[in-house]
Each structure stands twice: as C-alpha cells, then as structure tokens.
Symmetry: C2
Subunit: 127 residues, 2 copies
Amino acid sequence: MRRSRQKDAILRVLCETDSHPTAEWIYEQVKKEIPTLSLGTVYRNLRLMTENGSVRELRFTGEQGRYDGNIQHHDHFRCEKCGRIFDLGELLDELIKEKVARKMGACITGHRLEITGTCRECRNSKY
Amino acid sequence: MRRSRQKDAILRVLCETDSHPTAEWIYEQVKKEIPTLSLGTVYRNLRLMTENGSVRELRFTGEQGRYDGNIQHHDHFRCEKCGRIFDLGELLDELIKEKVARKMGACITGHRLEITGTCRECRNSKY
DNA sequence: TTATTTGCAAATCATTTGCCCGAAG
DNA sequence: CTTCGGGCAAATGATTTGCAAATAA
C-alpha cells in the first residue's frame, strides 16, 4: 500500500479523536485540510486500513459503520439516548472463552461485546 | 398491530428454524406458502415485530441483518469460515455489568456479545 | 364499514466500483 | 517511466416508503 497525503490525514484525524466517528465525519474533518478530498477515498482507505489492521471497524446495531483508531482489543458501551460510544477495557475473561471453546469444540479467535444503556449525562438530563 | 396471514407465517418460519436467517431467506420460505408475498412485507413485519419485542434482530458483523425467533437473552458464536451463527447461553455475568455501571455512572439495559472463531466442523474440514 | 395491511415499484442511504488522470517511487 | 492512488459519478445492495387495492376486525 502506497502512502499518500489523504491516507495520512485520515488516520491522523481518526487517531486524534475518541469519538468513534463515521466515514462521513472523518470526511468532513479531512476536507478542511484537503478540500478536493472525496468521500469515496475515505471509504476506500478506511477499508484498506481495516484490512491491514491499522484501524478497527465497529458495526453496532443497524447503524452506520464507525471506526476506531485504537486497535487494541477493548469493549464498548453505547448510550441508547445520545448514541455516543465509550471505550471500556477488555471485560470478557479468558475463562469464559475457554468454556465456550471446550463446549463447542470450536477455536475462538475473538469477540465483540457491546453493553448498552443510558450514560451518566443522559440520566441527569431533564428530558 | 392487526394480525395477518403473512405475519403469522413469517413468525412461524422464524421460530421453526434455529438458523438466524436473513429477511431474504424468510421471504423464500414463506413464498412457498403465500406465493404473492413481497419482500417489502417481510421487512416491514420483521421490523414491527422487532419493535414490539416478538423477534430479535441481530446485527453484529456488518453483514446483512439476521433475525432470531428466540427472544430470551442469549449470546452468539459466529463461525468465520462457514458464517453460521450458533446460540450460546447467557455468558456475561451480572457482576461485570455492575462494575461497568458503577464505573461509568450509567444505567445498563442490555448487551450484545458475539464470540467468533472456527466451529468444530470447519476445523475438521479439509479446506 | 373503515382502519390496517399488502404488493408493487420507486426511493433512500451507506458503501463500492469503474475509469481516467495525476502523483509516488 | 510505470504503477498505484485519487476524484468523480455511476452502480450496488439492503432496507424503507408511498400509494392504490385487498383484507381483517
């Protein structure tokens, strides 16, 4: 994969935020710096980076795809009111995975865990 | 929500399988019985039933949406080779959720957990 | 009767692709 | 040079929607 100004900028923007943005949002940000940028390029590069492991793709319930610059495994909390996604550490312990592996005769390579609820702010907001 | 022949058939087909089918697959099955059925009706009704809680929508992998007639909470194992989705019991224990709730000041309403790997059959297949 | 649901086709929306041109190595 | 990446616009594929006709209550 050849390097480019747009790839650099996309990855930088993604890594500088902790907001798990959509491709669209990244596009808007990078456009400020490279006005000729096209949305297709953002999708293309996010996909390439996901494939080579520089980026993680999150795909929650029915919504648009979101991206995470933090590739270390971690689980997520999604607030059902405001839609924000927060990082949690790795919650699922190895014992559970081993238990599943044994019971199913399967070989486990990963997991995705999303906890949902209402975040502190939304609980405290008036409406 | 008014009852209808197509709603009954859709729900029956979904509950009779354990294959976590797509809307398309359900459509093919029900079409055998109601040849005039349209795909739009399947989508429309699956959505209504998801909203009123008769059906569960699975949407983890970026793939097409899948539906589950078993509405009791349970987690899933997805084989990355054959793509099949197997049911697991409820794996995530309450303690973990409480810990998250306390740390985040959030109120937890649910979770989705998908474990991925290679199932027994695929491990044993030659290719 | 009359309110809902259906079937159909057109519309949406996120994402991907084809193509030709400009840039990277 | 020569190959790969970018911009653009058109294509795709899943899902949703608008509407007139059909059906459940």
